[in-house]
């Protein structure tokens, strides 16, 4: 393979857990093996009128005393991340350490109380302002201050596979050579929204759940956090750290089937398991145990059984399988990380935990079940499966260190090109050509409302798109347009080989508020099952994946005002790392009355009679250069660099420009912040323009800036454009250059 180097292994050198069975790894693990169940009656909030209220709740746990408000989700994360970092004896002063935080609900439990107050008093300004104090990124921000400094921080969501994806992103950071160690994991706290939602979907068991059992009725929700410290073996060895297990393989895939239901044949999930094994260059023969997703829902368990039969072949009759959800509940965004920790522990302790609640296996779930209690077992390698809403699947392989060959690592200089670009702004849908107007300094005609008033119907197959809410529709239109452009004049890209990453700052805040209002007004029986899956931050990703048939890596990232930049940076890392050849990356933000009111209440002078925040969407098709070349595609531009920096005190590391006289800088934010970030670099004196006045302000607008940069490069005005996104003293830079003929 082009640009390949060899030799690296990804070791887990620290683990941390907070769960319904305990506040640390040892307590959780020993109780798990004993068969203890942490599923109890709900006490965190009033569950009256709910179909099922048995949950795997975490017993009271203190947040660190930092003088700021900590959500329960963030507090769990702090405990688990600190435990993992302590076990690994990380020295942050001497190592470049990154942080990846995964989740789905973030501070929703705390936000719900505010929504309740707002429900009673719509003008309660303090509640409005407090609401944005707990976005999905709050956990990463709090951990950065309480446990950092981390040199790179990423927040991601892929529904119930989020936690597993945190480890994949962390592993890619290590293999890039830019980061020495990564603290990676997931955290999710219980809240009314998820409990009501899963109850509305009739996916819950009123009694303790029974994964793989013939009488299973559904899942029990849980809460908690799981974190690991990942390090390259060479670096860990040099400082005397020892491995708990090796993260030997991983694979991310999307089923592109249905927003809540798994693809029933198991073929899609089996494909991800198979790719995980082939990534590790190991076979089913080396696998001794599977920590299953095993939710206990009627649909998941037979699908997962079928997938294991397909992927493991004859070895399915030998490999022990269990689900930890009968003891911990389903911890959603934390589950993949918690179960990755448990899987690492099976290798470390040579023991496998049971499936509790399973007494009579369903004939449709014929597997080598571990029942009643854990047992000692020879465990060379463990597969850990996580399947999320939207069909977002991730499978990890945790193995004895050295079991398989080392990772194939790609050269960090593997070139990535842009082969398609599209943006939807209040000025309309644009595939790059209209954006070029910006290059000569003329501004785009922006509608005063700041809203996208384009009729989306002609751009969508509305029958197939009926489940897509507005963010998903905006995303589908720009992703579809960008991919069509990528196909233009060359061999088409099979959609199944494409990944999708979209940024979002707050998720669907207004829809969540509407969902909660219904709940407060009419009771849990009238929570909308169809609306619930649209409240997960990764919902637009899932919908677009299904709508367009995109079946590679699919996840959402969040980073406040630079959410678009975070998604494109994430996609760059994964294309460079070989996780996919093609990823559609960008951001979607819909107009939000709540966010609007919050922003105006923070700065009453900001609105001046119009909207403060607009809406829009933009995506780029990022493609590995050899892949584009092989199908005869002339790229629109090259991504010569993509950098991420995290405060405090750190700065972007960027080269160039090669031609100072013609170089341009495009940003979306505050010009003074951008100038401060570029001070002392070669870009310091390049003409800089902020796009926001012309295309509107929202958290995903950085993706539009990138599309505009592609257009500027194509227009020939300059061969080099730097796109800068800064928020809260951290940020992203991308250098887009003309594609060489």
């Amino acid at each position: 393979m082009e640009g390949e180097t060899t030799g690296a292994r990804v070791w887990i050198t620290g683990t941390g857990l907070v769960s319904a069975l305990g506040h640390d790894v040892d307590t959780t693990w020993s109780r798990l093996l004993r068969g203890d169940r942490g599923l109890r009656a709900l006490t965190l909030f009033d569950g009256s009128g709910q179909r099922a209220t048995r949950v795997g709740g975490v017993e009271e746990i203190a947040a660190p005393d930092t003088g700021e408000r900590w959500s329960r989700t963030s507090a769990f994360a702090w405990h688990a991340a600190r435990e993992a970092m302590t076990e690994a004896s990380l020295d942050l002063a001497r190592m470049r350490v990154g942080l990846v935080v995964a989740g789905t609900t973030g501070g929703m439990f705390e936000t719900e109380s505010l929504l309740a107050r707002l429900h009673a008093d719509p003008d309660h300004i303090d509640s409005l302002v407090e609401m944005i104090s707990q976005p999905l990124t709050a956990t990463g921000d709090r951990l950065q201050r309480a446990l950092g400094p981390f040199v790179r921080v990423r927040t991601l969501c892929s529904a119930c596979s989020s936690g597993a994806n945190a480890l994949v992103v962390g592993a890619q950071w290590l293999l890039s050579g830019e980061i020495d160690a990564v603290v990676a994991g997931g955290s999710d706290g219980l809240c009314r929204l998820t409990l009501s939602g899963f109850n509305a979907l009739a996916a819950t068991d009123p009694d303790a759940c029974r994964p793989f059992d013939v009488a299973r009725k559904g899942l029990n929700l849980g809460e908690g956090a799981g974190f690991v410290v990942l390090e390259r073996d060479t670096r860990a060895r040099a400082r005397g750290a020892r491995p708990i297990a090796e993260l030997a393989g991983w694979a991310i895939g999307a089923e592109a089937h249905h927003i809540t239901n798994p693809e029933p044949s198991g073929a899609a999930a089996a494909d991800v398991i198979t790719r995980c094994l082939s990534h590790a260059r190991l076979s089913a023969r080396e696998v001794d145990y599977v920590n299953a997703h095993g939710t206990g829902t009627p649909l998941n368990d037979p699908m997962e059984t079928a997938a294991l039969h397909r992927a493991l072949g004859v070895d399915v009759d030998r490999v022990a399988v269990s689900s930890s959800k009968g003891q911990l509940g389903h911890t959603l965004g934390a589950a993949g990380a918690i179960e990755a920790v448990l899987s690492a522990l099976t290798v470390r302790h040579q023991a496998v935990p049971p499936t509790m609640g399973l007494t009579e296996p369903d004939p449709a779930c014929r597997l080598v079940h571990v029942m009643h209690e854990g047992r000692a077992a020879r465990v060379r390698a463990t597969l850990s499966s996580s399947f999320g809403f939207g069909g977002l699947d991730t499978v990890l392989l945790l193995a004895e260190p050295g079991l398989g060959p080392p990772q194939r690592t790609r050269d960090a200089r593997r070139r990535v090109v842009v082969t398609g670009a599209a943006t939807l702004t209040p000025a309309g849908l644009d595939s790059g050509d209209t954006a070029a107007r910006f290059a000569d300094g003329s501004s785009w005609p922006t509608s005063r409302s700041g809203l996208v008033d384009l009729d989306l119907a002609p751009h969508l197959d509305t029958a197939r798109a009926r489940r897509l809410d507005r963010p998903a529709r905006l995303g589908a239109v720009v992703a579809s347009r960008a991919l069509d452009q990528a196909d233009d004049g060359a061999a088409a890209i099979p959609r199944a080989e494409v990944g999708i990453i979209l940024g979002t700052a707050f998720g669907s805040l207004d829809t969540s508020a509407a969902f909660m209002h219904r709940l407060f007004e009419k009771g849990p029986r009238f929570a909308s099952p169809a609306d619930f899956p649209n409240l997960v931050p990764s919902s637009p990703v899932g919908h677009v994946s299904i709508y367009l048939g995109l079946r590679r890596v699919a996840l959402a990232t969040a980073d406040l005002a630079t959410s678009g930049e975070s998604a494109v940076a994430q996609a760059m890392e994964l294309v460079v790392g070989g996780e996919a050849e093609v990823i559609v990356a960008g951001a979607v933000e819909e107009a939000s009355d709540l966010v609007e009111r919050i922003l105006v209440s923070l700065d009453p002078t900001s609105s001046r009679g119009g909207r403060v925040r607009s809406e829009g969407a933009a995506t780029l098709v990022l493609e590995a250069e050899p892949h584009a070349r092989a199908r005869g595609k002339t790229p629109l531009a090259c991504v010569a660099s993509a950098h991420v920096w995290a405060g405090p005190g750190s700065r972007p590391v960027i080269e160039g420009p090669t031609d100072k006289a013609r170089a341009r800088v495009v940003s979306t934010g505050d010009c003074a912040e951008v100038a401060a970030a570029l001070a002392g670099t070669g870009w310091e004196h390049a003409p800089a323009t902020s796009l926001s006045p012309s295309v509107g302000a929202h958290e995903g607008v950085g993706a539009t800036a990138l599309v505009a940069a592609v257009a500027i490069v194509r227009s020939g005005v300059t061969r080099e454009v730097l796109v800068v996104g800064v928020t809260e003293g951290r940020g992203y830079t991308f250098t887009l250059t003309a594609s060489d003929p």
């Binding site: 979907l201 249905h258 239901n261 509305t462 009419k522 029986r525 929570a527 909308s528 169809a530």
Partner: protein, 94 residues
Amino acid sequence: MDLSPLKAEIKELIVHELNLEGRDPATIDDDAQLFGAARDGAPPSLGLDSLDALQLAMSLEEKFGVRVPEGQEARSIFASVAALARFVAEHKKA
């Protein structure tokens, strides 16, 4: 008892609650199968799925105060608009 007004209301509800954009409720056949694929010769199925069934059950309860049972029993109730109308008419009274 004339179930026509009720059937029309249910068709409106289906189109609205399940976002069947552009579909004229009046074009839904009373006896068309709602879920899965239609039998040969039968009117075309609406091709709804289990998530639609949950949403429909919730909105029927909200609008008419009838609680649709879960599981096997629900299958015959959800067979068609006509079957739904019969179920609603019968249970609304109770």
